[in-house]
Amino acid sequence: MVETVIRKRIEILADTAQVRRVTSAIDSAGITGWTILPVSAGKGRDGLWHEEHVTSTDKSLVLTVASQDRAAALAAALAPLLSSHGLLLTMWDVEVIRGDRF
């Protein structure tokens, strides 16, 4: 059996134009890395949207794996932006191998 440790995985959905703000917050929380996934459509309180690069109508999903402490710091840093900037944040526990990396 490989040894695993528990870390938090946080995923933040944001306008692509706001992604740099999110990754700066991740960097500021002292987290080692992040990964961005494309997103193609969605629906929320503001209604439907479809990826349209011409009109800058596109969102991205920022994924980051961090220790509990840093994850909490990141969540606290982003909390004030959640409503005004239309972010969606979910987090949960995951097992990782070589947890010293995170």
Binding site: D15, A17, H50, E51, H53, V54, T55, T57, S84, H85
Partner: protein, 328 residues
């Protein structure tokens, strides 16, 4: 105007736009791949920039260019102030959304300009190459006034939250956004390369232009109609304003152009630039600098109403006005 107006409606460029709108209204699953649509918008900006630059390389720079650029910049900066006021009073928008929408109407639509170029050429009122510089210059001032207007609506917190880093990013987004870089960059390349250098790339950037424009307008028709269909935030008041603004601004621009002694093509072009509303450069800036504003409002107005209105009627009306006013 009768005959030339008819020509508009048998031009493939316009017909593809109509096809796109019909297809989206009928809920067809037709869609142009996103990266390809984006590539076409880049192509169109480069092509229009290059052609303008080459024309200026041929004609030389005169005083009328400076006049047109200053007039355009002022109009772009000032229009948002009156537009925002009306949006708040008549359109019932709060400051943030009013500022965001106003920025779109002060700024310009490259594709409306390009389509106008095709239509005015058919009507023997060609747009001189230097108007591309005016187009490029009018992109940005409206963004600044729009942000000024919108920030009044933000809480002190949100206003002062920007770190120095973010302010730098904001300035870059406003002055170095992709549209501005492409238009000004290729305008300068056109001037440097001149007609000789341009001839090597002419098959792609000139001969192929109208065909690509057809495909792009097909997509814009699809996006405009789909957005209208799915829109939640668009009220009748706003829809009305999205038709009133191009009429008022178009008249304003044309009259100023004529007053400044422009030829009919240039006066019409200035009118069309004022009448048009951005849906590429300004939304990009708003997403970055004003995430609190609702894209459902500003895009529904500029892309779904003003843009089709201008393509189908506005350009023709302004061309007619410019002809009448210049006694053509």
């Amino acid at each position: 105007m009768d005959l030339s107006a008819l020509t508009i409606f048998t031009s493939p460029v316009i017909l593809f736009f109509v096809l796109g709108m019909i297809a989206a209204a009928a809920r067809s699953d037709l869609a142009i791949p996103e990266p390809f649509a984006k590539a076409m918008s880049i192509y169109l900006m480069i092509a229009i920039g290059l052609k303008g630059g080459v024309a200026v390389a041929k004609s030389g720079i005169g005083i009328e260019i400076a006049t047109a650029i200053v007039a355009g910049a002022c109009l772009s900066f000032l229009i948002p102030f009156y537009v925002a006021a009306i949006l708040r009073r008549v359109g019932k928008l709060e400051a943030v959304n009013a500022g965001a929408v106003a920025a779109h109407y002060g700024s310009v639509s490259v594709v409306t300009f390009v389509t106008a170029g095709e239509i005015l050429a058919l009507q023997a009122m060609p747009i001189p190459g230097y108007m591309v510089a005016v187009l490029a210059v009018m992109e940005t001032p409206a963004i600044l006034s729009g942000l000024l207007l919108a920030r009044r609506g933000l809480s002190g917190d949100a206003r002062s939250a920007d770190s120095g880093d973010e302010r730098g990013e904001l300035v870059r987004e406003v002055f170095l956004n992709a549209s501005v870089v492409l238009l000004i960059g290729s305008f300068l390349i056109g001037i440097i390369a001149g007609p000789g250098g341009f001839s090597e790339v002419q098959p792609v950037f000139d001969t192929g232009f109208k065909g690509v424009l057809c495909l792009f307008l097909l997509d814009m028709g699809l996006l405009a109609a789909r957005r209208l269909r799915e829109s939640r935030s668009l009220t009748w008041r706003l829809a009305f304003l999205a038709i009133a603004f191009p009429l008022v601004n178009g008249t304003l621009g044309t009259v100023i152009g004529v007053t400044l002694g422009f030829d009919p093509g240039s006066a019409a072009a200035l009118g069309i630039l004022c009448a048009s509303a951005s849906y590429i450069a300004v939304p990009a800036a708003m997403r970055m600098a004003l995430p609190q504003a609702d894209p459902g409002i500003y895009l529904a107005m500029s892309l779904s109403i003003t843009f089709p209105f201008n393509i189908l009627f506005g350009i023709g009306l302004i061309a007619w006005l410019a002809r009448v006013l210049t006694g053509g």
